[in-house]
Symmetry: C2
Subunit: 354 residues, 2 copies
Amino acid sequence: MTEHTGYNVAVVGATGAVGQQMLKTLEEKDFPVRSLKLLSSPRSAGKEIVFKGKTYTVEEAAPEQFEGMQIALFSAGGSISKKLAPEAVKRGAIVIDNTSAFRMDENVPLVVPEVNEEDLKGHNGIIANPNCSTIQMVVALEPIKKALGLKKVIVSTYQAVSGAGLDAIEEMREQSKDVLEGKEIDPKVLPVSGDKKHYQIAFNAVPQIDLFEENGYTFEEMKMINETKKIMHDDALEVAATCVRLPVETGHSESVYIETDGEGKSVKEIQAILSEGAGITLQDDPSTQTYPLATTSVGLPDVFVGRIRKDLDKNNAYHMWIVSDNLLKGAAYNSVQIAESLIKLGIVKEGQSS
Amino acid sequence: MTEHTGYNVAVVGATGAVGQQMLKTLEEKDFPVRSLKLLSSPRSAGKEIVFKGKTYTVEEAAPEQFEGMQIALFSAGGSISKKLAPEAVKRGAIVIDNTSAFRMDENVPLVVPEVNEEDLKGHNGIIANPNCSTIQMVVALEPIKKALGLKKVIVSTYQAVSGAGLDAIEEMREQSKDVLEGKEIDPKVLPVSGDKKHYQIAFNAVPQIDLFEENGYTFEEMKMINETKKIMHDDALEVAATCVRLPVETGHSESVYIETDGEGKSVKEIQAILSEGAGITLQDDPSTQTYPLATTSVGLPDVFVGRIRKDLDKNNAYHMWIVSDNLLKGAAYNSVQIAESLIKLGIVKEGQSS
């Protein structure tokens, strides 16, 4: 039941919101899959999933499942990654991990192929996929950094509930219905399923994503700050983030302020720089009300940028609006892109006939 | 049918989203109303509204309706204010105008009583009520400016649809229902009823409020920038804004970055400054997930502030989350507060027995 060429691929968390998009992306990109193993928690084991017309039964993830795998895509939560990613590596697989478990580990490359593909060469078995809100931002900022230099970034996010998983989507939909019908609601998932209190997400804006750290920032905010510096190889880059969850199903939006080095440029020049940037689609024309929207980004792998304005006080500062499908470029698509880069760079070898 | 003491008050736009909140606020504050005249466009004339147990019939707004009025609260759109506010002034009324028609007129005080009540003394008949998103921000920033000095403000807004009127609320509710049921939608009101294209607001975040100016900013963004400088009497204050409409019925939220003068302070010191500030309620304790939310601000006149964090790069810079009911402190409540200030300062005289 396997192809003769290609890679033996395991997907851990295959039934989740991101896992499903990973499979869709592997299909759509016609990724050279030799054999596929779909793994999950015991709760979801036994479910059936169709991939390229063939039905697969999801199996419980366990160390021995990674025997013979070349690539293991993980998206089943940090604790599962911590436990099983080293087991997969021990058995010869390269792990591309979508959780935050290893992102800030200095032995683990944190990769957005448009920005730092070369970092893959230094891998030790595990490669981390950055946080969704970080990925789309660095894709947009990288060409500006290359062309002008980048000094400071202040971002306020407008994040979709699908980033918190299928339960969060379900809660938002049901709760929205209840609020519209004037019914009582009983929030149980958002803003953070693992935190003590839960708040209404329907028709609201909740300034908490992930738990709080000691310094008053959330983990999500600190992820954006630290991951951006790591991916862009610039510890001196000033980054600040405020992360907010919205009643949007899919598509993260970001209001981003940046200060560059050197002389100020015109909006047209910034647009020209961005339109040449890998993975970026410019949607920026106030005269026709053209700007990126969460709803129109869904299902597309691009990072959309618009609302580019010069700051009115600082000549080399700019504002922009960055939108992308958080399940695709923010997660699944970037993971599969990393796998493609591993092939392109000759880092991963094809599977052997057994 | 009139009280013997108090003021003859006209409310223009009495049937609108803000007009209704004005009447509610006059009632709740037990404002000394001697007689009340409810005015509107021809479309809404004839409607009946109950105020303090008495039923009033809404009449078509016209110049002669302002005879004998001491206070005229306008909230029926800029063109009606431009036409009728001077007529009201001519007849002896002081106009408190909730539209943008006169806000940047140098002969018109633009007033948030907690910030610049004294400016009322220089009025020439018309007093402007600032834009909703500006009001809540300056209330929060004023005590910081007083205590520390203020150099720079960068705000990204999360604005409710009620700021765009009852039609916008209706569109959001109906559209949300349709999206949840998988029906086709046909946006007609938002983001800006007077602009060419309309976009889905349900489960989306739309980075356009009001029309675009030549410089790529929207009028809403330029209002926040210019009005903040005028109210705070500081043309050198650096202000930048990105304004975004959300599927929230009422309650504007704002992610605000500020740089102060002088030495950096601790979060506790900033909290102490804010908790002493007029009109502010601090909701800021990460350990109990306490922060302001649009949904919990509704119906309350306070400006709620939380998520206060020190910037991690600049010692005298801070981030915060500012929320208020855009129809109350952002509009109706502030207008009635202005009327109260006019009484307190002896600027407006009580009505005469006729």
